[in-house]
Amino acid sequence: MNPIAIGVFIVIALLTLGSGIMVVTVRNIIHSALWLIASFIGVAALYLLMEAEFLAVVQILVYAGAVSILVLFAIMLTRQVTGEGVRVVFERWWVALLIALGLFGVIVPTLWKHGATWEEAAKLAQVGPTPVDGAANSLQVATATEIGRSFMGEYLLPFEVVSVLLLMALIGAVVIAYEERTRRRRVLTLAEELALKKRGIVEPRDAEGAVVPREAEGKVILLDSEQA
């Protein structure tokens, strides 16, 4: 492996790790999410360095472009917008530490056993990907074609399991949205409130004074001027 590539790798890896550390140490939670994006992009750059273009692009598309945006959305919709002074290290930090160490303990031996050295990878990159049907070589250059073939062949079951998981998430989202909707009613404009009052219609309220939702969903209240 040539020294320039090693230098680039070290710089990118340090940047990625550094922004990862910033994610957990910065006190402002929005800044923390932004550092997370930086770390995602760093990982994408590492994929690119390994010539896994497709993975790099998907990493940016899914993680930097969508997941982190959802994280930001969730923060902004649930907390005070300024988000200052949030405690990031919680009391049960040791649980998180245990989980992280466990994950590390799984990843490192796996890479040790199945991973390639830089020399092998470089040789492979020059020769080009081996056909998947051979499967003797655990290394494939991760092009879109290879990934697609292994999803449809070797890893069909995990792929389908993941799609069932996504389907569950989808159905769950729909269910939650429907429940939300039944509890919601449209906020009337002032003119519509007045029109209601003029017709002597009083909003039905429950014991706590909250407005009981109307039964007919989306029923349009016609104003006097519009009836004509």
Partner: protein, 413 residues
């Protein structure tokens, strides 16, 4: 280019470096000068549509107007609100422009490719997705309610329209069998350079859907909700002035330009056209560049036409349009694209199928019979889906002339 430099006697790393620098400079200069011309082009043409003249004083026909405006914005005061998050506020336009410029790296200029990435199609979409980060940073970092509202609306719009946009590309990738823009352009070179995807039923629907979704991605009217100036001042750009505002403006126009380029490449055959292959060499390359720019500017003119004629959508309408109209159509289009590919080129795309079912009877030349069947079948599927969904949507519109709870729940609360 790097090879030519190596032959001139430069070291290999130096020639790669020089070639890259030249390419980057060309892209940057071409992009920003193109953007300046675009603003003039848009203002003049929309002026004629609105029965007025538009900028015509600075230079011949007002061509130098963008330059004077650039000087004006650069000399204006660059104000940062006192309570703003200074760093985030500063970085937001940088992220926006950076994402836009990145997408130009893979766009082919006629037959000239800056970088031929394997996943080029996805790369363009991914860099477009990075826009939402810049928008969010601008909206939040300004510490202004209108800016935050604009940012949230914009990001909700971007991530909703990204889905139909990405899925509208899948038919093209299916038909080509590759995600590289170079391969996609080459695949549209049949029939004397006129085998563009837009001429097939699948490609036609895909083109319409992709272009519509891209309009929303580029925040063009009728989807300019994030910066709807009559509702929320200037959205996420409210607190920006001077050079930073100019950078946002630049990034917006450059991404519109990129959208036109990508649409022309994916569906209108890129630099393909009659005569390109016959000329060949440098002349053919120049001709392909001319074709490519003509197609792209025609698309941009369509954008201006849409801006002049279609009013802005409401937020909830915007969301329903993406999820209830575009998404089903895009899914149907993927279905008919797979029929198209199965009928026309299963032998090329899926060699395994040939193993199982035997080779198609006439694999050699274009089989006109199969082509006719494919056209009729996909046309039926696509037209049927469009008619059905239009009818459903119309009924829906008539039922709820006013905003209803359902629509509010679907729109961003």
């Amino acid at each position: 280019m790097a090879d030519a430099l190596t032959q001139l006697g430069f070291a290999s790393w130096l020639s790669v470096l020089i070639a890259s620098i030249i390419k980057v400079t060309l892209i940057l200069v071409g992009g920003s000068v193109g953007m300046m011309f675009l603003t003039w082009y848009e203002r003049r043409s929309i002026s004629y549509m609105q029965d007025r003249r538009g900028p015509n004083r600075v230079g011949p026909q007002g061509l130098l107007q963008p330059i004077s405006e650039a000087i004006k914005t650069m000399t204006k005061e660059d104000a940062t609100p006192r309570d703003a998050d200074k760093i985030v506020h500063f970085l937001a336009p940088v992220v926006m422009l950076g994402a836009t410029v990145l997408s130009f790296a893979v766009i082919p200029w006629g037959r000239m490719f800056p970088v031929d990435l394997n996943a080029a199609v996805l790369f363009v979409i991914a860099t477009g997705g990075l826009h939402s980060i810049g928008m969010m940073m601008a909206g939040w970092g300004s510490n202004n309610k209108f800016a935050l509202l604009g940012g949230m609306r914009g990001v909700a719009q971007l991530i909703s329209y990204e889905i139909p946009q990405v899925m509208a590309i899948i038919p093209v990738v299916l038909m080509t069998g590759s995600m590289s823009l170079q391969k996609i352009v080459e695949a549209q070179n049949d029939f004397a350079g006129l085998g563009w995807y837009v001429f097939s039923p699948v490609g036609l629907l895909g083109f319409a859907l992709f272009f519509t979704a891209s309009l929303a991605e580029g925040e063009r009217t009728p989807f300019d909700i994030p910066e709807a100036d009559s509702e929320i001042i200037a959205g996420y750009m409210t607190e920006y002035s001077g050079m930073k505002f100019a950078v946002f403006y630049l990034s917006n126009y450059m991404s519109n330009l990129a959208v036109c380029f990508v649409t022309a490449t994916l569906y209108l055959g890129g630099g393909n056209g009659p005569g390109v292959d016959a000329l060949g060499g440098i002349a053919g390359g120049l001709l392909s560049l001319v074709y490519f720019l003509l197609k792209s500017f025609a698309l941009f003119f369509v954008m201006v036409l849409i801006r002049a004629t279609v009013p802005r959508l409401r937020v909830d309408q915007l969301m329903s349009f993406a999820w209830k109209f575009l998404l089903p159509l895009v899914l149907v289009n993927i279905l008919s694209a797979s029929f198209w590919v199965a009928l026309l080129r299963w032998d090329q795309q899926w060699p395994q199928l040939t193993e199982w079912f035997g080779a198609p009877s006439t694999a050699d030349a274009t089989n006109w019979g199969r082509l006719a069947i494919a056209i009729v079948l996909t046309l039926l599927i696509n037209a049927g889906a469009v008619a059905l969904i239009m009818r459903l949507t119309n009924r829906n519109v008539q039922k709820h002339l006013y905003t209803t709870d359902e629509e509010l729940a679907l729109g961003l609360s």
